[in-house]
Assembly symmetry: none
Homo-oligomer: 231 residues x 4
DNA sequence: TATGAATGAGGTTTCATTCAT
DNA sequence: TATGAATGAAACCTCATTCAT
């Protein structure tokens, strides 16, 4: 009803240099300690919010629960985020950015394309499928239509890069003769599809029928590269 | 604001017995009109609820909006459904059951396995990808974890049958020499994965990068069956 | 799910003479049958409403439940009563009037005053305490403040008459030397108080500590008339 | 319309620690004012709820009205009580506990039994009959059957103790020769009955026929103890 | 900066009453 | 006359957001 701008929303970056210098007298290192504590709190909120949003979805998540889980008061959340909606949006960014960063820090592309992709799949298996990170993917699928900015961000930062990267690998594989199906480069989604399905399957159907994602991905690669010799 | 019948929503089954007594000439009394109107209303509610749940997800959907869209009063919804939650659960059943029924009315399996699967993919393309039915799939992915009964139902009625059916086709393809990769029968998910990805892609990223699902599926089948001759 | 009329609720008695008479022409006694049916229905509604109002109080009673219990449709209630409120008010009248009528049909006042009062107490014990009629008293105590017309009616028809009657008996007792405490005639409530308490006790505390109302009333009369010889 | 603090409702116990820190001199910060305000609010809610429940009964009372009367927002009620039902149950406890406490702080039993009982009756007259406390008794009679926990509590804390206390006094009276009717000790309800009737009479029939409760109780005691000399 | 009590709009659900059949 | 589907006002309760401390 009353609309008051609430400058509390500043990102931690903003926040960092927003420190006001201490009361006269004794203030040895508390400045950094202050900032550190704030960053910790923010991290706790982000972590807690992730858990809750994943468990319940955006609309059904209560800030009260996030606060409780993060060990802060409800009001504190508003010192870090403008409101629930932008918290969700920032959240996705905050969690995804380091993933993208890691992807960009490519390992030097040595070995065969199959080996490269197998390595990649291995990481994906370990760090995404069946983990909270995987659930985040499902969360984005779930909330994307209501949060275009989230879908935009996710497409721009993750999907389009992932597709481009895969396309590059596929073209390399084709050039080297490892991959026969030339049209695959036009639809790198095909390469990724089983991995995505595995992510979703773990969230929804794991208890009905557990899925050996690793083995499935291997079969999929055999399909693309032809039968392999060893593992 | 009030009254906006929207009888468009009725499933064809509902529709069948919702008709007055068809025989032309005799139309003295609107005999079954009471029951018919009730069925129409119920169908309108189902249709409206589908739209709203798909557009906003379970928690963010307001019964008020469903009622408005269905052209009924809020209270009317409660004549048909116990509460919001069971409305959602029944909804999924109501919409999915006829789909399953249609799948069970198999077309006589003639021709090559590839042809069979292409036909199937064609239907899927036309009737699921990019349609409200596709959005329902996304909705189930989104809400499944919070509605185990929905996930259970969907697994039992759709997923497990779909997987089984695909496995059968794959085995046939292997037996006939159409499919070389024998392990594929262990993971029919691989066969379906690109189709599922297409469904999700249309919901989330169509406006960022339109996807020619038909062509993608064709490439995927080439990968599995080897290069095709004709279309 | 779909609402199945359930007119099954009618008692078999109702049902028996529920026969509708034949096609036009023959209309022997249907007028009376009509009226009879209506009266029966009304009686069923009154009975059902009593039960429900006693069990739940005015506000918490649902017309739906009354209708169900009476074996009529909800709308039918409105053919007999203007609305819930006046139904309640009329109800009290309907149930109480015959009681008053019976009281007015006094048994010829023979014997000692104590015998008269003992007879009266005996009837009260049998017909009020621990019965639905007793619950009605509690209901009036409960709802009286919100239904002045009910309280008025009850005071006028029952309380004031009862008090007057008791006062007459007390004065007779005093005149005959059966009762020593002359001031008792000024407060006949004292004579009735334990009986009323018994009514309330049965409703509220019977399961905590059963009360032998008969014996209590006897002790009370001993107090007023002096020790008795026999029962 | 908004804001009508009504702090009058606090029980004396609440009030005690609702005060700021009394020790004069040190009053720099309104230290406990947070807690104090909370206690005040709670007391206001309790008071308002009492009024409304008494005026309308449980089912017909609107939380909105309680909030308005207490001068708080609707949501505030839920900071103090789980829901309407448990609010009602707690309410009875909150109001009755101090009464019981006061009863337990017995005045030294000096004088004759009749004097003792007259004193007690006098207090009852002043503090219960015709007061809101009396209305509470009627409310319990009204709602008891639907709130077994309330009836239980009331029986345990008030009725059973009251009965036991009265029985003790009666036995004392019999032992001292003040009371002749020995069976009275078996039904102390008889001793209390006119007082209870007075309570109910005031709620329901005061405007039809005012009742001089004091005089009635005196007559009742005369009946039990024999004619008195003085007042 | 951090808190959490307080707010009140808004959501779900109930139910007295109406009215077309 | 009787029905019961439909209505929609109104009740309870939740929870994002604010703000005094």
């Amino acid at each position: 009803m009353t609309k008051k701008p609430t400058k509390a929303a500043m990102s931690s970056a903003d926040r960092a240099n927003a420190k006001h210098d201490a009361p006269p007298g004794n203030d040895a290192a508390p400045a950094s300690s202050r900032a550190a504590r704030a960053a910790e709190r923010r991290a706790a909120i982000v972590e807690a919010a992730m858990e809750e949003f994943i468990a319940r979805g955006f609309a059904a998540t209560r800030l009260d629960d996030i606060a409780k889980r993060a060990g802060v008061a409800k009001g504190t959340i508003y010192l870090h985020f403008k409101d629930k909606e932008s918290m969700f949006e920032e959240l996705v960014r905050i969690v995804i950015v380091p993933v993208v960063a890691k992807l960009n820090a490519l390992p030097p592309p040595t070995g065969t394309v199959r080996e490269l992709i197998e390595t990649f799949a291995g990481n994906f298996l370990k760090e995404v499928i069946g983990t909270r990170r995987g659930d985040l993917v499902r969360l984005i699928v779930a909330e994307g239509p209501r949060f275009p900015s989230v879908a935009d961000f996710y497409y721009r930062e993750v999907v389009s890069r992932g597709i481009a990267g895969m396309r590059g690998l596929i073209e390399l594989g084709i050039a080297r003769g490892e991959i026969r199906e030339k049209n695959l480069a036009r639809y790198p989604q095909i390469l990724v599809a089983p991995a995505m399905i595995a992510v979703i399957w773990q969230s929804l159907f794991a208890r009905h029928a557990p899925l050996d994602a690793q083995e499935m991905l291997r079969v999929h690669l055999d399909l693309i590269f032809g039968e392999r010799r060893t593992t």
